[in-house]
Each structure stands twice: as C-alpha cells, then as structure tokens.
Symmetry: D2
Subunit: 124 residues, 4 copies
C-alpha cells in the first residue's frame, strides 16, 4: 500500500475543466506542456537571478517579490499536474518510487554534508 505523499485530484479536475471550457486540449500535448512548464520555471528563475542566496530566503515575504514568487510556484505546480494528467502518470506513485531510489543513491553516511552527485560518491 502506497503512502500519500502528494494528492492532486482537486487540481487535476480543475485543470481539466479549465482546458475543456476553453477548448484548449488541442494545444496541450505533453511536448507543449513540457515547454510551458519550462517557460514558467524560467520566470521563477528570473526572480532569483540577481538575488544573493542569503536574500533568497526572504523572497516569499519581501513586498517586492512575494506575490510573484507565489504566482510562479503555482504556475509551475499547475503545469506539472496537468502534464502528469495528460501523460497518465500517477504523481504520488512516481514520487514514492523516486524517493526510495534517491535514498539508495545517497546513503546517509556517504553523502552527509556534501553536495557530491551520487555517481561520484565513495562506494561503501
């Protein structure tokens, strides 16, 4: 039995209805939605590009950026959820599986305190 790490049914239904009402399914091929997702991540990136790491911690509360940060995170989430729906991917199952695989690739002892990629970690 799978744990519930993420639940997206409400958003999935809302996005289907949004697209159907506007007859937009014709544009929503997975290829196009990947590009749209990528474009939104680009907009999110632009908010942070000249910001220091230290300042970035306050980006969602700073008056100049709070709304933009929230909106771009939402846009990324919405395209991701719609893309998974159109592809027929169960996001929760995908996350459960990937977290297990990440835990195997990054054993606590070898990866503690280092940002080294898994294929360059010392082997146990």
């Amino acid at each position: 039995m799978n744990k519930t790490l993420i639940a997206v049914d409400g958003a999935t239904q809302a996005l289907r209805q949004f697209a159907q009402e506007r007859d937009w399914q014709q544009f929503h091929s997975p290829k196009n939605l990947v590009m749209a997702l990528s474009g939104e991540v680009g907009e999110l990136t632009e908010i942070f590009q000249w910001m220091s790491e230290a300042d970035s911690h306050g980006a969602a509360s700073a008056p100049a950026t709070a709304r933009a940060v929230s909106d771009e995170l939402a846009d990324v989430a919405l395209y991701l959820i719609h893309l998974a729906d159109v592809l027929g991917v169960d996001l929760n199952a995908a996350i459960v599986s990937k977290l297990a695989s990440n835990a195997a690739k990054y054993p606590v002892a070898a990866s503690r305190g280092v940002s080294t990629k898994y294929d360059q970690l010392p082997q146990s």
Copy 2:
C-alpha cells in the same frame, strides 16, 4: 474556506527528513533550489526534444521512456515542494489564488480555441 486542490504534507515531511539526515539544509537556499528545479526540467525537456507532439502522448507508456518520464516528473515535483517549504509558501493557497486569477485573465468567450496570451486577447 479554501478548497484542497493539492496536498503535499507527506512529501514535505519526507523531504525535510531526507535533507536533515544528510545535513543538506546548508545547500538548500531558495536560489539553489530554483536552479535544481530548473535542471530537472531540463532533463525532462531532453526526453521530449526530438519527439513529435503526436508521439509525446505515449511517452509515459513507451518502454524506452516510461521510467525516465515518471522519474523526471517526480524530481520536478520534489524540488518544487521542497522549494515551497523552504520559502514558506503554502502551495495550495498559491494554486487556488492563481487559478482564480487565470480564470479572470482568460474569459471563456474570448479565449476559446485560441492560444493567444491574455494581454493580446480582444477586450470584452
């Protein structure tokens, strides 16, 4: 009272624990996590770059790409959820708000069947 369009508590807790066990919070500034999210979207993009729109509909069931598609969608979701957590953004509230704003920007009558950006739609 907000609707629940997305629920990410389980994943949020799992990601916090994953980072804490490995002492990775030091790397997880919002700025860095935006870059990591962007890198994962890049990997997702690479799967689809030479695929036709028609073929892209089958990408999550085709043996050559199914696992990669599922894994990259999961990676994008995981970094997005962790980023929202570190920033202190409530993803569900952000989505509810953005969907309402999208509905206002894209009235059904004006946007039906066209992919025109909202600021170039005919005004009612």
Copy 3:
C-alpha cells in the same frame, strides 16, 4: 553599416554539414531546437546549482568542473547558432539591435549599481 559583434559563419557551416551527413534536418525544427537548447542550459545549470557565487568564479579552472563547463557552454552555443540558422536570423544584426535597445532601457544614471528591471527604474 553594422559593426561585427559576433561572427558565426564557420560554426553555421560546420553544423549544417553535421546535420546533413546524419540526415538530421528532419529533427531540427526550430521548436525542437529550442527544446534542445533549453536542455543544454539545464545541464549547465546543474553544474552550478550547489556552488556558491564566490566558488562559481573558478568553475572553468577547477579540475572537477572545467571540462564540463567548457563542454556545456559549447553545446549551448552550437544549438543557438544552429537555431538562428534554421530560423534565418542574422545573429550579429540581432545582437546589435538588442544592445542598442538595452542601452535605451537601462540609462547609465538610473541603473548604476542596481539590478532593478527596466520597467521599475525611476523615470528621468
């Protein structure tokens, strides 16, 4: 008469020949090449995602990253040049025009020492 800010004839010819020899023009629609460009920028981003700004200055000389940085910059340049060629865009003319427009959007006096986006700069 235009200044020469960038010259890409050699690379343009080499890329045409590379694609022709492999019968790859069929994959090289502008849409697909934009995705390929985006994927390479994703790989470049992954090199820098956990690096501090200070450390990033040495990324092209550090043994662990020098070759990868050089290769990813080359990949981005190659897809950009091939994309401009397939689209029929003169990169030098595009750059000359964009630099002039940037200079107008960012007057020295108003933009000195600040990273503010042009549409939020104080008007003179």
Copy 4:
C-alpha cells in the same frame, strides 16, 4: 592552429563596457549569469510552446513573433558570451573541441536518420 568557428570579441568588449558603466560586475557572478541565461531561454521557449513544429519554421518571419524571436536569440547570445568571458572560457576553442567530440560520439553510419542518444547507439 584552431579554425575560427565563432568570433565574439566585439560583443565581449561591448558587454564589458555595458556592465562597467552601470557598475553591474557585482551582480555578474557566473552562477547568476547562468540563471539569467536560463531565464532568457525560458522567454524564448514561451514563444514556441503552443506553436506546431511546422509553424515554428516561420517564427522569425511571422509579424506576430519575428521581433520577439530575434530579441530573445540576441539575449541568449549576449548572456552566453558574457558568461564565457567572466568564466575565462574561449568559446571558439570550446566549440572546436565539442564538435570533434560530437563527431566521435555520433558516427555517420550509426546515427544516420535516427535521433538516438549516443550512449544508446549500436556499437560498431
């Protein structure tokens, strides 16, 4: 002796002067410039996201998109050139080297007419 596939001296000098006049070097760490490059590729992607592959061939001549396409290609080129300069990477040498390595990874016979990634090509 290296071939000249790309020459960027003019743009490199123009970009140095542009940054110096505005005291912007403080923002132009390689890490930040990678994000800025990524943001511009995101804007380029948004132009093409709902366009068919067939239509994308005309994007640089269609009145609705020609200027935007040219401007975004220029922005990508400018950040790429400035990034290479700040990193101390010789873009021409990087391209010459990468093209040679691509030719080795994609032998004409094995890769003709297929978009298969090099590590999945049949071995000769």
